[in-house]
Every structure is written in structure tokens, then in C-alpha cells.
Amino acid sequence: MSKYIPGQPLTAVVERIEIQKLRQGDNLILGFSIGGGIDQDPGQNPFTNDKTDKGIYVTRISENGPADVAGLREGDKIMQVNGWDMTMVTHDKARKTLTKKNQDVVRLLVTRRSLEEAVKQSMGKKQ
């Protein structure tokens, strides 16, 4: 994950993940927890080396939940949810975007370090 420089576009290798929400009683749950946001303390983020990254990270995944089944992993940074940007949002906005009641499916763009490395390796092999 490259460091964000204000004013410059951010590039990242992302994976597309589609999660089907699960109905549990009155709620639609996704089966994971998020942390981070522009109003939170980025220094306590254990999933990134860059301690100024205020993005939304996946902190916990419930076993065999919808997110686990869809391929989301702990430590992933969520870049987009259904087209909405997640790199510069407050924690509450991210929560609301993910838990819209009228949506059954959320399409996430997530990035993780292993993706970057895989791309680098394959590019290296090509060369």
C-alpha cells in the first residue's frame, strides 16, 4: 500500500470482493469488523507499517461468515464500497455505507500487502 500524498492520485493493487449479506433476525450482517477512519488514531493500527494511514481496515472476521466465505481477510484495507470511496471517510460514514438496509450485496475493493508483492513478483518474472 503506497503512502498517500495529498493532492496526488493514489494507486493500489486491489481485489474485488462481493459479499452477500446474511439475514439474522432483524439485521443484515456481513461478518467482519472495521477499524480506522479519518477521525480515529492511526497510530494504533496493527495492520500497516504506515502509521499515518487513516483508511478503513478489516480488524476481525467471524468464522464462516459471509465475509470469510467471500474471501475477505483480516488486515485488508477497504478502498471502495459499492463505488463509494473509503480512503478518506470517518469511521461512522464507513459503517453506514456498509450497513445500508436496502442493499443485499456489497462489492468491495480491498487491498493488502500480499497483492502488491504478488504483482511485483510476477512482473519481475516477466522481466
Binding site: 456481513l30 469488523s33 477499524g35 488514531d41 476481525r60 469511521h91 459503517r95 450497513t99
Partner: protein, 542 residues
């Protein structure tokens, strides 16, 4: 009934020797006490150990340790381990006699010198003022107002000097030190030189030429007194003020039982530091109790008894070397043994048998602890009960019933027998019985009764060994001290200097450490710079 047995107890010990007599005495006492016991409470007597040394044989001491029943059956109780030191007592007394003459001479010489110097110092200004009037009164100018004002100044300054010298120097000497006190000697020399130079000047310029300007002479005398006051200020700084600021931390450890204390001292010479330490020793260190060391000594003896020493020749030694180096676990003993002498080999018999002395020590100590606690609880109960028999009488009652009134001493003697046995057993278990005589216990009891102290307060001085000063002089076991030092005793204390103070029975080992030089820097914090932010870190499940 008590006084009778007490008296008999004392009379046995006023100078008789030990040994064979004791058996006879004891059997007599036993018989007597049995007769008494049938009609009254058992009573025990605790006698003070006699002041003069007695030539005790070691067999006597062994007997005392084994006999456990004398608390109940005898009315006379012997002092214990102090008599094992009686040989040293004899040595000590002869040493005292030899050296007291020399020390007294030195002290009186010092005193005489000080007196002479003091008289010289005080009479000099007066002589300066009086001599012109005596020697050439006609030539002398009359003393005007300013001159007479100076007389008052001289008088008061001399008075102040007199008081100051009395305050600083006229104090009873605290100790006799081995070497002369360097600063005092220097000051005395300085004063002597100073006064001598003033006399020289006076003699040459004033007496010889018979100066008529009396005011000048008076001013000269005033300047002398001023300078003497400044020398006195110098004396205060050198003798008193310089060592007040703590510079060194000394660790004082007693060689026999390891009791240690730490003190802060200023810049002192080694002998003055030793004096300061000794004064604090008497106030802080618990009294030295030789009876408590017997257990470790017997253990040490047992360790040595386990080793056997053989004289061997070379052939056997080489075989032994092979044997010792082959078997495991004996290498340490082998290495140590080979280092020693050429013609001996130490065979560690304990290497083969399992060493259980640590086990014995553990159980012995646990047993002793239990015994002490049991005796202590019995003692506390007995004392509390005894104290309930005594009640302070009010003023009105005093007028009503003058019959049975007792003063504190009699009250103490009345309640003492009921607690005497428990107290004596406790003292015996904690090996303190030679520190407290029956007389001292009764005195203390009377004191506690007079001051309305509780039983717990009365017992406090028997439950914990107090500082050496609290006991009578003959229990100090430390009257004359020798300072043992590699550096000269008038040199100052330095970091890492060590010296020892030895008296006949034990020693104090002193090590010094300098208090470090502290480099401090400052940092200014603006009070407005204390600002805080709220840092949230929440985790939401979706």
C-alpha cells in the same frame, strides 16, 4: 519470702570461684526451694553476673547449657556465657591498668597547654593597654573620648570572645583519640604565632620607643581582639561547620553477626569518623549477644570434623589423583586439595555421605521459632494478668484506706513473682538472660507502673534487643576500641577507604563510598504547553 532467697543468691556470688562449689550449692538450693514451694508460689531469683572476673573453666559453661531445670528448682541462677570470656576480662583489666597512666598524662598535657594559651590570649590585650600606664605614665597622652570609646569596644569584644571560646572549646572531652587532632593543633599554632608577632611588634615599636600616642596603642589592642575573633570564626568553620555537609556514605558492619548500618558523614579525618561511628554504634546497634553465635560455631565445628587429613607419600598420592579425578563431583575438592601442601591429601569423607546439615538447620530453626513464640505468648498472658492486680489509687481513696498502700517499688515486688518464671523462661529461650538482672527487671517494672504503662510497653524492652546504651555498662562488652587502618588515621576519608574498629570480643568493619557529584540541568516548561487531544480507536462490527 522472696527477699530471703534473693539475699542468699547474691551472697553466693560475691567473689567465690566456680567449679566444684556449684554442685553443692545447687543441691542445697534445690532442697530449700522444695521446702518453700510446698507452702507458697514458686519464686525464682535472677542475679546479676558479678563485676570482677572469675576464672571459669570450660566445663562449667558446658554444664550450664545442658541443664534446663534450674528455673524451677533453684533459687539462684548463674549468669551464663559472659564467664566464658573471663580470660579476656583478665587481659582487659591488665591492659587498662597499663595504658590509663599514659592516656591521662596526654590528656592533662593537652589541657594544660590549652589553659596556658587561653590565658595568654586573654591577658595580652589587657597587658597592651595597661603596660604604658605602668611603665611611662608621665609621657603618656591623656585618653580622649574616642579612645575611651575604644575601651568599651575592647571590653565587649573580649567578653564575646570569652563566651565564644567557652562555647566552642570548654566542653567535656568526648573521647581520647589515638593521634592529635590536627585542626586544633594547627589553630593553636596559628594563635600562638599571631600573638607572638603582635607581642614582637609591641615590644619593638612601642615598649622600646615608649610611644606617647595612647590612642594608637588602644587601637592596636582593638585590632588584636578583632583578629582573635576572626581566628575564632576560622576555628568554628574548621572544627564544626566543615564536616556537617554529608559527603560520604559509610557502611558499618559488625563482624560477629553481620548487623550493619549506613551513615552519612562529612569530610572528616579517619579518627574523627571512627569516633562519630562509635557514638552512633552505641545508639543504634542492638547489643552484641555472644550467646547467639554458639549455633553457627557448632555447625562450623561439625563441618571440619567431617574431613580427614592423611600424610601420604608420592606413590599413594599419584594413585589418589587418578582416583579423585576419575570420580565425578570430586573435582573441586581435588583441585583445592592439590593446591595445598605437598605432603598431605585431604580426603573428603562428606563427599560420599549425603550432607544433611542444611536440613538440620532448617528444622532446628523452625523448632526454635515455635518455642520462642510459645514462650512469648505465655509471657504476655502472665504479664497481663500480673498487671491487673495493680490499680492506681485515687486521691480520695488514699485518705480513706492508708493501710495497704504501696509505693511503686513495693508494688513491683508484689506482682513480680507471678510473671518471673515466664519471663525467665522467655529470656532463656532467646538467650538474653545475662542482659537483664532481677534488680533491673524490678526497677523497670516499678518504672512502668509509675508511668501507667501497659503490659505490652513493659515487655517491649525484653522482646527486642535494644541498642547497646540501654543496657548496663557491664553488658556492653566493648569499652576500649582500637582503630585499625592502613591509611594514617589523621588523613581524611576517601572514596573506598576502609578501616576497622576492634574491641576485645568483636569488630566493626567500615567501608566508605563517596556521594556522587551531581550535574543538574534545567528545563523550562511553559504552562501553556500542556495541551491534550482525544484519540479514539473504535472497532465496529458490520
Amino acid at each position: 519470702m522472696d527477699t530471703e532467697s534473693t539475699y542468699s543468691g547474691y551472697s553466693y556470688y560475691s567473689g567465690r570461684s566456680r567449679g566444684s562449689h556449684r554442685h553443692g550449692e545447687r543441691s542445697r538450693d534445690r532442697h530449700k526451694s522444695r521446702g518453700k514451694d510446698s507452702r507458697s508460689e514458686k519464686s525464682v531469683t535472677i542475679t546479676a553476673p558479678p563485676a570482677e572476673p572469675l576464672l571459669a573453666d570450660p566445663a562449667v559453661r558446658g554444664e550450664q547449657v545442658q541443664d534446663d531445670n534450674w528455673g524451677e528448682t533453684t533459687t539462684a541462677v548463674t549468669g551464663t556465657s559472659e564467664h566464658s570470656l573471663s580470660q579476656e576480662d583478665v587481659v582487659r583489666i591488665t591492659k587498662d591498668l597499663e595504658e590509663s597512666v599514659g592516656l591521662d598524662c596526654r590528656r592533662y598535657l593537652g589541657l594544660a597547654l590549652a589553659v596556658v594559651l587561653g590565658l595568654l590570649v586573654f591577658l595580652t590585650p589587657l597587658a597592651f593597654l595597661a603596660l604604658p600606664h605602668l611603665l611611662w605614665p608621665e609621657k603618656l597622652q591623656s585618653c580622649g573620648t574616642a579612645c575611651e570609646g575604644l575601651f568599651i569596644s575592647v571590653a565587649f569584644k573580649l567578653l564575646i570572645l570569652l563566651l565564644a571560646v567557652w562555647a566552642l572549646f570548654f566542653r567535656p572531652p568526648r573521647a581520647g583519640l589515638p593521634r592529635v587532632f590536627v585542626f586544633r593543633a594547627l589553630l593553636a599554632v596559628l594563635v600562638l604565632l599571631f600573638v607572638a608577632s603582635y607581642w614582637l611588634f609591641y615590644g619593638v615599636r612601642i615598649l622600646d620607643s615608649q610611644d606617647e600616642n595612647y590612642q594608637g596603642i588602644v587601637q592596636y589592642a582593638v585590632s588584636l581582639v578583632d583578629a582573635l575573633l576572626f581566628i575564632h570564626y576560622l576555628a568554628i568553620v574548621l572544627l564544626e561547620l566543615r564536616q556537617l555537609q554529608p559527603c560520604f556514605s559509610v557502611c558499618v558492619a559488625r563482624s560477629t553477626d553481620g548487623e550493619a548500618r549506613h551513615y552519612n558523614l562529612g569530610q572528616l579525618s579517619i579518627q574523627r569518623a571512627a569516633l562519630a561511628i562509635l557514638e552512633r554504634y552505641y545508639c543504634d546497634f542492638p547489643v552484641h549477644n555472644p550467646a547467639l553465635l554458639s549455633a553457627s560455631k557448632s555447625r562450623a565445628a561439625k563441618h571440619l570434623a567431617g574431613l580427614k587429613v592423611y600424610n601420604v607419600d608420592d606413590a599413594f598420592r599419584s594413585k589418589l589423583k587418578a582416583y579423585l579425578f576419575d570420580s565425578p563431583g570430586n573435582n573441586a575438592a581435588a583441585a583445592a586439595g592439590m593446591v595445598q601442601s605437598q605432603s598431605r591429601a585431604m580426603i573428603a569423607a562428606t563427599a560420599r555421605r549425603r550432607d544433611t546439615s542444611h536440613n538440620e538447620l532448617y528444622y532446628e530453626e523452625a523448632e526454635h521459632e515455635r518455642r520462642v513464640r510459645k514462650r512469648k505468648s505465655r509471657l504476655v498472658v502472665a504479664v497481663e494478668e500480673a498487671f491487673t492486680h495493680i490499680k492506681r489509687m485515687q486521691e480520695e481513696e488514699q485518705k480513706k484506706a492508708p493501710g495497704d498502700v504501696m509505693d511503686p517499688r513495693e508494688a513491683a515486688q508484689a506482682i513480680f513473682p507471678s510473671m518471673a518464671r515466664a519471663l525467665q523462661k522467655y529470656l532463656r529461650t532467646t538467650k538474653q538472660q545475662h542482659c537483664h538482672s532481677m534488680e533491673s527487671i524490678q526497677q523497670h517494672l516499678a518504672f512502668c507502673i509509675t508511668n501507667n504503662m501497659t503490659p505490652k510497653a513493659f515487655l517491649e524492652c525484653y522482646l527486642t534487643p535494644g541498642p547497646t546504651l540501654q543496657y548496663g555498662r557491664d553488658h556492653w562488652l566493648a569499652r576500649k576500641w582500637t582503630l585499625i587502618s592502613e591509611a594514617s588515621v589523621t588523613s581524611g576519608l576517601k572514596d573506598g577507604s576502609t578501616f576497622a574498629l576492634r574491641c576485645l570480643d568483636f569488630g566493626l568493619v567500615v567501608t566508605t563510598k563517596r556521594i556522587p557529584y551531581i550535574q543538574m540541568s534545567e528545563e523550562y516548561i511553559d504552562p501553556k504547553s500542556h495541551k491534550f487531544v482525544l484519540r479514539l480507536q473504535s472497532e465496529t462490527s458490520v
